[in-house]
């Protein structure tokens, strides 16, 4: 694998990309490389490598992240990284609006613990996560999500379009 930070790209052969995505490969430390990119290597955004490192190559929450913090996103991650997962899309929508605690985020997004930790890790490694140690004034609950103005319509639309 080659990494070109200046162009925000990394290059890898399809088999390695697949292994990276599956989390079944251990990478050695990077070293300088000055030759051109060999044929057969696909260019991918560097963001994707950072994301996969956080999402696929870590167990539990990264040690420097405080689980009692409130978490927010500085921007949306790449849509491809979210893999059309509704819990992850929901987490992004919630966390780009304001900082929330782990418990609230998990309840509201209906995200399981492991997926949630991987998501936070991936956001952190990708430089998108903002954590702060304070409590928000209001703690939204699942009940709040269910009783929204459009709650029934959104559920109906998802069912109708096969998104449920």
């Amino acid at each position: 694998m080659l990494v070109k930070p200046a162009s925000h790209r990394f290059y890898a052969r399809p088999a390695l990309l697949h292994a990276l995505n599956a989390g079944t490969v251990t990478l050695s430390p990077l070293r300088p490389f000055s030759e051109s990119v060999p044929e057969g290597m696909a260019a991918r955004p560097l963001f994707e490598l950072a994301w996969m490192t956080g999402a696929k190559h870590s167990d539990g929450l990264l040690p420097w992240l405080d689980p009692d913090s409130q978490f927010q996103l500085s921007r949306w991650p790449s849509a491809a990284a979210l893999n059309k997962s509704r819990p992850l899309l929901s987490l992004c929508a919630l966390m780009t609006r304001r900082a929330l605690g782990r418990a609230q985020l998990q309840i509201l997004s209906k995200c399981d613990e492991a997926t949630f930790n991987h998501f936070l890790n991936a956001c952190e490694i990708s430089g998108l996560l903002v954590s702060e140690r304070r409590r928000s004034a209001a703690q939204p609950t699942a009940v709040a999500m269910e009783s929204q103005r459009f709650g029934g319509l959104i559920r109906g639309l998802r069912t109708r379009l096969g998104l449920s």
């Binding site: 949306w76 780009t96 709040a144 459009f150 998104l163």
Partner: protein
Amino acid sequence: MTHDEFKILFTGPMGAGKTTAIAQLSDDECVSTDVVNTDLEQCNKEMTTAGLDYGYISLADGFGVRLYGTPGQERFRFMWPILANNAAGVILLLNGEHPDLEKHLAIYADAFANNGETPLVVGIGRLAANDFSCVDLVTEKLANMGLFVPVISVDVREKEDVLLLVETLLCQIEAHEMELMEV
């Protein structure tokens, strides 16, 4: 607009795929007000939407979702606020290969994002498979406008891509609604 229906608005410049996207979702054939395109400099296509596109998705128990598409030509801009009124969310479609992409983004984000108060998703079409920079550019430009919204590379001819835009918008609407309830 009654309590048993809501509205999703599709907007963007000419040729961005609004009519196609609505047609992918609508129960019946999309109602379009197409006319001969006299602005070939902006978009080289034969027909374009002069008034609006309209589609409808019927849900159970008489509920429904209205889908509106804005006219792509800026001279019909007076219709934008009328169509945007009461929209639950907006899907902004852009043509990634158009030389005026950044200008289009600025115009439409300014007109429809409502300073981040309206749930918004941006879909960029006609991007090459290995073009990652356009999505980054648009994301950055939006962030500079204080808009932290999802930007997705899409092909609106593919229903799955349109459904991803809708699902992402629904998540945005839910997060927005939850915030409103706590105010």
